[in-house]
Each structure stands twice: as C-alpha cells, then as structure tokens.
C-alpha cells in the first residue's frame, strides 16, 4: 500500500469525509424515524449537517476553571479515534481494511476512545455536573466492555479454530471466512453473541435507556455541559461516526455478504444494512424505553449481554472440543 492510497483511505473514502457524511446521514435518519415513531414530523434528514455548520459558527466559551489544553484536545481525541476505527473495518466489495492481522483488538481499543475523550473533556472542564457525568460514563464503559470483549473473543475463536486451530483477531480473515463459509449468523452457537453485541450498541452510543452520563434533564448533558461551538460540533461528528463504526463492525463480524461485484450496489447494500442495524438497536429502543438509573444499567450489562456472550463462548468451545 503506498502513501497516497493510505491518505485517500483514511481521509476521503471510506474513512474521513465519506464516513462523516454517512455518519451524519445515519444520525439524521435516526432522528427522523424517532420522530415518526412518536407521531411527529421531525427534523429533515439533513438536520445534523445544519447543526454542525451552525455550531462551528458559534462562539466557543472556555470556562475559567477549565484546563485549556485538555479541554480543547478532548473532542479531537475521540474524533481521531473514530476516524482511525472506520479506516480499519473492511467493507465487502468496496474496501479491504488497512491491516491484515490483529485489527479487531485495535478496534476494541479505539471504540473506547470517544468515551475516554468525553471523560477527559469532562474532567478538564471543572464543572460538578460534568464530573458526575464522567463517573457515570466510566462505570457504564466498564460494564459494556466486558460482554463486548467476550463477543470478540467468541468470533475470533469460532473463525480461528476453523482456519488454523487458534483464535484469530483479524477482521479481513473473519470477513473472508464468512464469504466462503456462509454468515456467522446462520451458526446457532453464534446467535447469543450476536444478540449480546446488539445490546451493547446503545450503551456505547449513549442513547436513551443508557444515556445516563448525558442525561439532559438531571445533570444537564453531563460531560458536554461546558462545551460550546466547535468543540460541541466535534462531539456531534464523533457521535455520528460512532454509530457508523458500530454498524459497520456488526456487519463485518456477523453478515458481511456483498451483493454482486459492482461497487455502487455493494455500497448501497452496506448503507442499507447499517440503517437496519441502527433502527433496531438505537431508534426502536430509544422510542420505547425510559432512561435507567446508573446502577440498573451497570447490573443489566453485567448480567444479560455477558451471560449471552458466555453461552456463545461455551457452545463454541464445546463444538471444537477444547
């Protein structure tokens, strides 16, 4: 891979510019469908773009108590992490990913970047509400990382045992394995792991049943409280990218099938799959659930998704007689 191709992949397509557009489109669709589920008209689908443009034009206020460097750097950190993650995940028929081995673990680390960036910004802003949000953000992160890790382990083991007798954490081999052997979703022992991963998505995105760190009615948006103008715009972009990364990751891990060989058809098919995942994990849950308390969410994540993922792990292990 030469340098020019690397830059195009990371900054224009499929990472960078294209990913930002797609992420904002997902956010816009989410808001529109959410409004329709509540019998409202809702904002237009292009609303997130308008919001980002507006926020970038607003005055940026930096609190007196804030640590300037950390406060300004935090939004960039999360944004960069998500940009790197989207450049790693392969999309069938369009893009094969940046690396060939161990990239699933890198994605796992990068997925915690937005949450850590939020925590960093909250700690730097010096507001009491932000620090409550920070503690909640970290505790919910600890809760959802465990089932997510087990799901990754299960997928890696399932594919790796079949190919080489040891767990494999390479997204491109996982995708290629499924393209030749059929989707992992059709494999019965993998179904609980799939469900567990879907349950983790709203927690990572921080949407309604699990938006405890950013609860706007009780701690006035928590870590985002002190952000205004361009910093807030960056966080909004990161939110859109996070949605895209998680849908793309679900597609790559469980059903990466393409549709023919023409790239445009593949791209539209991929976007369709992302929208479907977003609808079922984010919009639908958001429209019918109320916000949990932090200890309820913590218990929930340590019980259900972890149990589902463990069932999957044990079943997979039994099927390979380890």
């Amino acid at each position: 891979m030469n340098v020019a191709e690397f830059f195009v992949n990371v900054f224009i397509f499929p990472g960078g510019l294209f990913a930002i557009m797609l992420g904002l489109l997902l956010t816009g669709l989410d808001r529109k469908i959410y409004a329709r589920l509540q019998r409202r008209v809702g904002p237009p689908i292009y609303q997130p773009w308008l919001d980002v443009v507006k926020l970038s034009q607003k005055e940026t206020i930096i609190p007196k108590t804030a640590n300037y460097t950390a406060f300004r750097l935090a939004p960039l950190l999360g944004f960069a992490g998500m940009l790197a993650a989207i450049a790693i995940i392969p999309v069938t028929g369009i893009y094969s990913g940046l690396y060939q081995s161990g990239d699933l673990l890198v994605v796992l680390y990068l997925l915690s970047a937005p949450a850590l960036a939020l925590a960093m910004g909250a700690a730097a802003s010096g507001s009491p509400y932000s620090s409550i949000g920070l503690s909640r953000e970290i505790s919910i992160m600890l809760a959802y990382e465990i089932p997510m890790l087990i799901v990754f382990l299960t997928v890696g083991m399932r594919v790796g045992m079949e190919i080489g007798g040891t767990a494999i954490f390479s997204l491109s081999s996982i995708v290629n394995f499924q393209l030749s052997q059929g989707s992992l979703l059709l494999d019965l022992p993998m179904l609980p792991a799939f469900l567990a991963f879907l349950i983790c998505i709203p927690g990572i995105l921080g949407v309604v049943p699990f938006d405890i760190p950013e609860a706007e009615t009780e701690i006035t948006e928590g870590p985002l409280l002190e952000y205004s103008g361009s910093g807030l715009a960056m966080f909004k972009l990161t939110g859109g990218l996070k949605m895209l990364v998680l849908s793309a990751l679900t597609v790559a891990l469980f059903f990466p099938m393409g549709l023919g060989s023409f790239w445009l058809v593949n791209l539209l098919w991929f976007i369709f799959k992302c929208v479907v995942i977003m609808f079922f994990t984010t919009t639908l849950i958001r429209a019918m659930q109320a916000r949990m308390r932090i200890e309820q969410a913590y218990k929930f994540y340590l019980l259900f998704p972890t149990a589902l993922a463990l069932i999957s792990l044990v079943l997979t292990a039994i099927s390979f007689r380890i």
């Binding site: 409004a35 237009p44 609303q47 507006k54 034009q57 006035t220 409280l225």
Partner: protein
C-alpha cells in the same frame, strides 16, 4: 457566503428555557410546544437543550424574582453569542399580576436585552411558535 450561512443557520436554532420564578404555567406550555406531537418544534430544526452553552434562543418565563435575578443573569452570560431572548408570558414582560410586589426585582428588560415578547397567561403553544419564528428571523441576521 453570508446569505448561504444565514439560510443554513436559520434551520438549526437550539432552545433553552430559563424559569425566573415562574408559576410553571408557561413552562408547561413551552414543554408542550416541544414534546407534544401536535406542535413539534423539532420540525423547524429546534431542539430543547439541557445546557445553556448549547443554546441559541432563550425562552424566559417568570417575573424575575429578587432571589432568582442574579442566577438568571449568570446563566444568560453563559450562553454563547449570537443569542436571542424571548420573554414568554406576561410576567417577564411587565410583571403581570405580580407587578410591584415586594419580591419582584424589576421587569426582565431592565437587565437583559429582550428581542421578542409573547404575552399571555400562559400564551397558547401556537403563540410561542410564533415568537420562536420571530426570534429565528432576528437571530439569523446576527451571523
């Protein structure tokens, strides 16, 4: 460029509510404009936000009591420019039935530059939407 920016910006005003000692009547009507599907301000691009630092249009209700006056001024200062103030209900506009009471500091426009008034006790949700539409027109010209 300025014209284009104004047209983009006018579709994304975020709203913040300040209760300056209101009886909660106007607050309920303001929540109604946002939350009840019949009025839905989100179709105008509005969003009620929890933090004053995200706000563009401020809706203030209540007669600005002596106790809450300093807090209102402080929260108002935290809102980034450009911003527009809408006084909702007769209390912030003139004091209403509480005018000349011992616990009322003064009318709102004695402390903060108000741009739009929406009288009523409480005003109808449609009147609040009218006020927001007027405020958006003022606000976009500040970019």
């Amino acid at each position: 460029m300025g014209e284009l920016l104004q047209n983009i910006v006018k579709k994304s005003p975020w709203i913040y509510r300040i209760n300056a000692g209101s009886c909660n009547g106007c607050d309920v009507e303001m929540a109604t404009t946002a939350l009840i599907p019949r009025y839905d301000v989100e179709r105008l691009g509005c969003r009620y936000c929890g933090s004053p630092k995200h706000a563009d249009i401020v809706l203030i209700s209540g007669p600005v009591t002596a106790v809450v006056k300093d807090k209102v001024l402080r929260v108002y200062d935290e809102i980034p420019n450009p911003k527009v103030v809408v006084a909702v209900g007769i209390c912030p506009i003139s004091g209403g039935v509480f005018r000349e009471s011992y616990s009322i500091a003064n009318q709102l426009d004695a402390y903060i530059p108000v741009d739009v008034n929406v009288p009523g006790c409480p005003p109808r949700p449609q009147a609040i939407i009218d006020g927001i539409a007027m405020a958006i027109e003022i606000w976009r010209k500040k970019f």
